[in-house]
């Protein structure tokens, strides 16, 4: 079932949590809402679930207006960061809860409830824990039970609020790929909230990057990583180097680096910032073009070699594959010229908004 959101606003006192959100989640996709804490992603998810009400705007499920519908009538499964399992119920009863509270007319028979619960527990590979209580489970097990519980009522939409946020790295990685496989089997429209870019890039079909109550960019993981639409997205997704410079008459200049910028053809110079990913930078020894920089550190971390260089405008991070680096190693203290293969330029004003946004 598809979800459509039209110009959604939400304020908490003076704080604007959502400032006119428009979003479409196609049926069967897994969409990640990605952003720093306080960007409004959880509020958006809770409004979709009906746990919070928007000040204005509308939500459509499968083309039908669901803005005023109560949480229990939305047919939405919700998974909480801290599991929210019912402590006094066994794992079995937790998963069966949604079936047991159905009105008598549509409630399945006891035997059918048993079957459904056990098939869900098998799906999350925890059928052997049916008689246990939540306090006896590990964090990863609890979250899988919470997911089984949410799926028991066959929701048309599955909403996950930082589902792996409370787990340690190893378990988080396992559950991430497990969730992806599960989604490929079930194809239930899902929205996942996360502040972890790696999680979003790995799991989601589409990523919605949010900042300060607004959507910065929507796109596939490759799109948002390779072609960030704003400085914020650049800085939030992955590591990035930032160069300060100015632009005039269609050219941007960063102390020795020149690049055409078609958007700024005027005669008055404006301040601009250039962004380049660490793996998109080349080193030249004999070139006359490029920034002059000195090699400060070299570290090899598994398959990648990370090089830190110092230039007059600050520091630059570079990444090369181990093989490429070993073919032509750099000496610490050596002076070289560097040139980004790709440098994206934004006016400095636009980037200033980003800085305050990232802090919030």
């Amino acid at each position: 079932m598809s979800i459509e959101i039209h110009s959604l606003w939400k304020r908490f006192g003076n704080f604007t949590a959502l400032a006119g959100i428009d979003l479409e989640v196609p049926a069967g996709q897994l969409v990640a809402l990605l952003g720093p804490s306080g960007c409004g992603k959880t509020t958006l998810l809770r409004i979709i679930a009906g746990l919070e009400t928007a000040d204005s705007g509308s939500i459509l499920f499968h083309g039908e207006d669901a803005t005023r519908r109560h949480a229990r009538e939305r047919g939405v499964g919700f998974v909480f960061q801290h599991y929210a399992l019912f402590q006094h119920m066994s794992v079995f009863e937790n998963v069966a809860f949604g079936l047991r509270v159905m009105s008598r007319k549509i409630r399945p028979k006891e035997e059918e409830i048993r079957q459904r619960v056990f098939s869900l527990l098998e799906m999350v590979q925890l059928d052997w824990l049916a008689e246990r209580y939540p306090s006896q489970l590990s964090g990863g097990q609890r979250q899988r039970i919470a997911l089984a519980r949410a799926l028991a009522v066959q929701p048309k939409v599955l909403l996950l609020d930082e589902p792996f946020g409370a787990l340690d790295t190893q378990v988080r990685k396992e559950l991430r790929s497990w969730l992806r496989r599960l989604h490929d089997e079930l194809h239930v429209t899902s929205v996942l909230v996360t502040h972890d870019q790696e999680e979003a890039l790995e799991v989601a079909d589409r990523i919605v990057v949010m900042n300060k109550g607004r959507i910065e960019q929507i796109g596939s993981p490759d799109e948002v990583y390779d072609n960030p639409a704003t400085p914020f997205v650049y800085q939030f997704l992955g590591n990035v180097n930032r160069f300060q410079g100015y632009a005039v008459q269609g050219w941007a200049e960063f102390g020795g680096l020149r690049q055409p910028v078609l958007e700024h053809g005027g005669d008055t110079a404006i301040e601009v910032l250039g962004y380049a990913r660490p793996h998109e930078i080349d080193v030249k020894r004999d070139d006359q073009q490029g920034l002059v920089a000195t090699v400060a550190h070299v570290r090899t971390l598994g398959p990648i070699t990370r090089i830190e260089l110092v230039f007059e405008g600050g520091r630059i991070q570079m990444e090369l594959t181990r093989e490429r680096y070993q073919a032509d190693p750099l000496q610490v203290g050596e002076t070289v010229r560097i040139r980004p293969r790709r440098l994206q330029v934004f006016p400095a004003e636009q980037a200033a908004e980003t800085a305050t946004g990232a802090a919030g």
Binding site: A49, G50, L51, H70, A71, R72, E73, R74, V76, G77, F78, F80, H82, A84, F86, Q87, H88, M89, S90, F97, G98, R100, V101, M102, E131, R132, Y133, Q136, R149, A150, A152, V153
Partner: protein, 276 residues
Amino acid sequence: MRHRGVLPGFGPALGFSLAYLCLIVLIPLSATFIKAAGLSWQAFWETTTTPRVLASYRLTFGASLIAALVNAFFGLVVAWVLVRYRFPGKRMVDALVDLPFALPTAVAGITLASLYAPNGWLGSLLAPYGIKVAYTPLGIVVALIFIGLPFVVRTVEPVLQELEQELEEAAASLGASRWQTFYRVLLPAVMPALITGFTMAFARAIGEYGSVIFIAGNMPMVSEITPVLIVGRLEQYDYAGATAIAVVMMVISFILLLVINLFQAWRAHRELRGSV
């Protein structure tokens, strides 16, 4: 190998607890038993089973039970309101809850008696409907509710505070109505605390004397509670009779409290039966 904890050992701690309990609880109680043992079995039985005494047991335990049940219900509501809502004067209400602890019970009794007397503020409103509170068993229940309220509120409050709001949200998103969320999710979670609060209010009500004597009227067979009866015996220098009745009361109370505690332990155990 003996396992050593951080705090001073098990031995001294247990020794101290036992000695302390003996001094404060066990010795006075056994003195009662010893005094009562002065009576022959026949005399003991006759003293403790006269119709007047039996009526007082019924009244004491019956009124206490009703008061504790009422407190369990309204105490839960008050605790809920104090935990979940913000409203002007909340701190005042919070402080008011503890007042029955601090107020001399006689003051409470006199105040309630004058309020509920047929010519009192509340009593005069109820009188046209034929409802009499003061000098009836109903008055006793009212007094016992008054003194027992803080127990339930103060035991349930911290548990409600700990209860995540997400539990309610999870239940709602799974399709549960408000009522289903209450009795399937919230009530079971606060139940142990609620039973503890109920037990304390109940135990306190059984032993209550000060507030009841003023509002009860203390009519034999109608509104005379067992503690009043015991004091009456003492005033007549019938020490053996007084202690005999006291022993019966104590035994009943002990059995009731034991049963409630066993029930609690059974519940707790049942919840962990899945553990290996």
